[in-house]
């Protein structure tokens, strides 16, 4: 695609009720997505509980680039590129820890936890103006950094809307609810993370997570296997419940509420089986919430019944089970999906253990549920190039689509079209 007409041509990959196959398969499109979407928007970096104390840090990626997030001695959180300003080596190889300084292993250039350059060996060798030049040799800061309710986001774009505006009220409600579900009003990221990799485009997972027509069909083998389990009079395990919860009828899925919001964001109503909600652990937890907040407020918090709230372009928030998933696109045909868990402070520890087991079940590479999704993504990626037909159909519910009323029936593909409209808008604008 030629640069001179590139922007218009990219947007034309998204049609009415359909998208062009190059949307998923063209490496050039992928490179431009990185520049025009992932380098422009706010992306989730982590949670403040990962850097509780001065010197605490973790390393992660921001739109594929390696960054360090650290809490400095003054209590402020900083994010900077994990790249020595001397020769470019990674200054911090650890995934997390506590450090007074970051010392480059190559020539010992030493940085403070706010990214400033503290010292280099034999500094008289750098000339008379070295002291002045040092200020410009700090670790390169991530252009913008902001937190919402303890969730830390970064952006490579120096200019743009605020994080709160970017998220909008309906997405913010998912973060609010995740924090409010903790009896102490505080959560912490814990329990490690899962990383599932699949050889397919990142947008396939984005669509799939709001696709309510597929669970009963694609996950049939897992649902059937769950149906045949003999529990021998024992209560079913949380793992079984998670698998079984996909087994709603097509009619039931169609009756679920979904919503699409400006900016490509969307959410879907909760669908976990009653067994997960109505057990003695939940009853104990509910009692704690009532003691803290009173009957009315506790009921209000716990009645917030959403499954995924999908923050465009790559974040899935599930407050009900205290989990977050994030997509890290690797290439046009390879994607990582990271799963994280939160501990609700003040809640019974068994609730955290249940969240761990839910993530094992759904988001480990061994999952008998999402592995089927990833298998399908790989087959789509392989088959899309075949044949002369250029378009992929996303027309379900198009006829009664009201582009801005956004709550609709479950199997309507409106939220996917809403994602792809946001894509087209970002891609039509030149890179920041």
């Amino acid at each position: 695609m030629r640069e001179e007409n590139g922007s218009k041509a990219y947007a034309e990959l998204v049609g009415r009720g359909r998208v062009h196959r190059r949307f998923y398969t063209d490496p050039e499109v992928f490179a431009e997505e990185r520049a025009r979407i992932f380098r422009r928007v706010w992306l989730w970096l982590g949670h403040e509980s990962q850097v509780k104390n001065p010197g605490d840090f973790f390393t992660t990626r921001l739109a594929g680039e390696r960054v360090i997030v650290a809490r400095h001695a003054d209590g402020a959180i900083h994010a900077f590129h994990n790249r020595c300003t001397h020769r470019g080596a990674e200054v911090c190889p650890a995934s997390s820890g506590n450090a007074r300084n970051f010392v480059c292993p190559y020539h010992a250039w030493t940085y403070r936890t706010d990214g400033s350059l503290a010292s280099v060996p034999l500094d008289q060798g750098y000339g008379a103006d070295w002291r002045a030049r040092m200020a410009g040799l700090r670790l390169e800061p991530v252009a913008r950094l902001a937190s919402y309710r303890g969730f830390v986001f970064g952006s490579h774009a120096a200019e743009g809307e605020s994080l709160e505006t970017y998220l909008g009220p309906e997405v913010r409600a998912a973060f609010d609810n995740l924090v409010e579900r903790a009896p102490d009003g505080e959560i912490e990221l814990a329990g490690g993370r899962t990383v599932q990799r699949y050889r397919g485009n990142w947008k396939l997972q984005l669509e799939n997570s709001i696709d309510l027509l597929h669970p009963r069909i694609l996950h049939r083998s897992a649902i059937d296997a769950a149906d045949r389990v003999d529990h021998g009079g024992q209560p079913p395990s949380i793992e079984w419940d998670i698998v079984k919860s996909n087994g709603l009828t097509l009619r039931e899925w169609d009756g679920m509420k979904i919503a699409a919001m400006p900016g490509g964001h969307c959410w879907m109503a909760g669908f976990l089986t009653k067994a997960i909600d109505e057990n003695s652990l939940q009853a104990r937890y509910r009692k704690m919430m009532v003691e803290r907040h009173g009957e009315r407020r506790a009921t209000e918090i716990l009645a917030f019944n959403r499954h995924n709230t999908i923050v465009y372009p790559n974040l899935f928030v599930n407050s009900r089970v205290a989990q977050i998933r994030v997509l890290a696109p690797v290439s046009v045909d390879c994607t990582e999906q990271h799963g994280y868990i939160f501990r609700l402070k003040g809640a019974p520890e068994e609730m955290f253990e249940a969240s761990v087991r839910m993530v094992n079940t759904n988001n480990s590479p061994s999952s008998i549920v999402t592995s089927d999704d990833h298998e399908i993504f790989e087959r789509i990626q392989q088959s899309l190039a075949s044949g002369r037909h250029e378009w992929v159909d996303l027309s379900r519910g198009l006829d009664d689509e009201d582009a801005h009323s956004h709550a609709t029936v479950g199997t309507n593909e409106l939220p996917m079209r809403n994602q792809h409209r946001a894509w087209a808008q970002y891609m039509a604008a030149s890179s920041p």
């Binding site: 329990g191 490690g192 990799r197 769950a226 480990s364 061994s366 592995s371």
Partner: protein
């Protein structure tokens, strides 16, 4: 029974477990496990507990049976066509937990797992350990743990269908 005899019997038992997996005789494989068995593949290196940290697999016999039932009915796109797998066990050692007759014992081995499916071959190296419960001249598996050398690799893993 001498140490050599015990070692030989344990090793033959572990080879049989590997063969049942390789030959896709999954119900027979599952029958080697006690009803209260735990099958665990940790995510973190030297992971201490499956309760407070995610795992690659952390399954009871009931969950394993659900997994196997699904594989055997071949309804899932995940496992069609079926993967061909080989388990290689080396460095087998036996640690008796107690000297008492009929007491449980621990065995360990290095594991190499090769899987071929859909034009691709991949392999994993790891350290496996078993808690074995004697049953007559034979054993049952009360617990199995497999620590993959690359369990926690940054880029993650493509899906796993068949247990290690």
């Amino acid at each position: 029974m001498t140490g050599v005899e015990l070692w030989h019997r344990v090793q033959q038992f572990l080879f049989r477990e590997a063969r049942l997996l390789d030959e896709r005789r999954l119900q027979e494989w599952l029958a080697l496990y006690t009803d209260d068995a735990q099958y665990w593949v940790p995510y973190a290196w030297e992971q201490k507990s499956p309760k407070d940290h995610v795992s690659l697999f952390y399954e009871t016999k009931s969950l394993l049976s659900m997994r196997i039932d699904r594989l055997e009915r071949e309804l899932s796109p995940l496992d069609s066509p079926m993967a061909r797998v080989n388990h290689y066990l080396t460095n087998v050692q036996v640690d008796a937990v107690s000297v008492a007759e009929g007491a449980e014992l621990d065995a360990r081995a290095h594991l190499l797992f090769v899987e071929h499916r859909r034009e691709e071959q991949r392999w994993f190296a790891g350290r496996a350990s078993w808690r074995l419960r004697p049953r007559g001249e034979d054993f049952l598996i009360a617990a199995k743990r497999v620590d993959l050398l690359n369990a926690d690799q940054e880029q993650g893993h493509l899906r796993f269908a068949v247990p290690f």
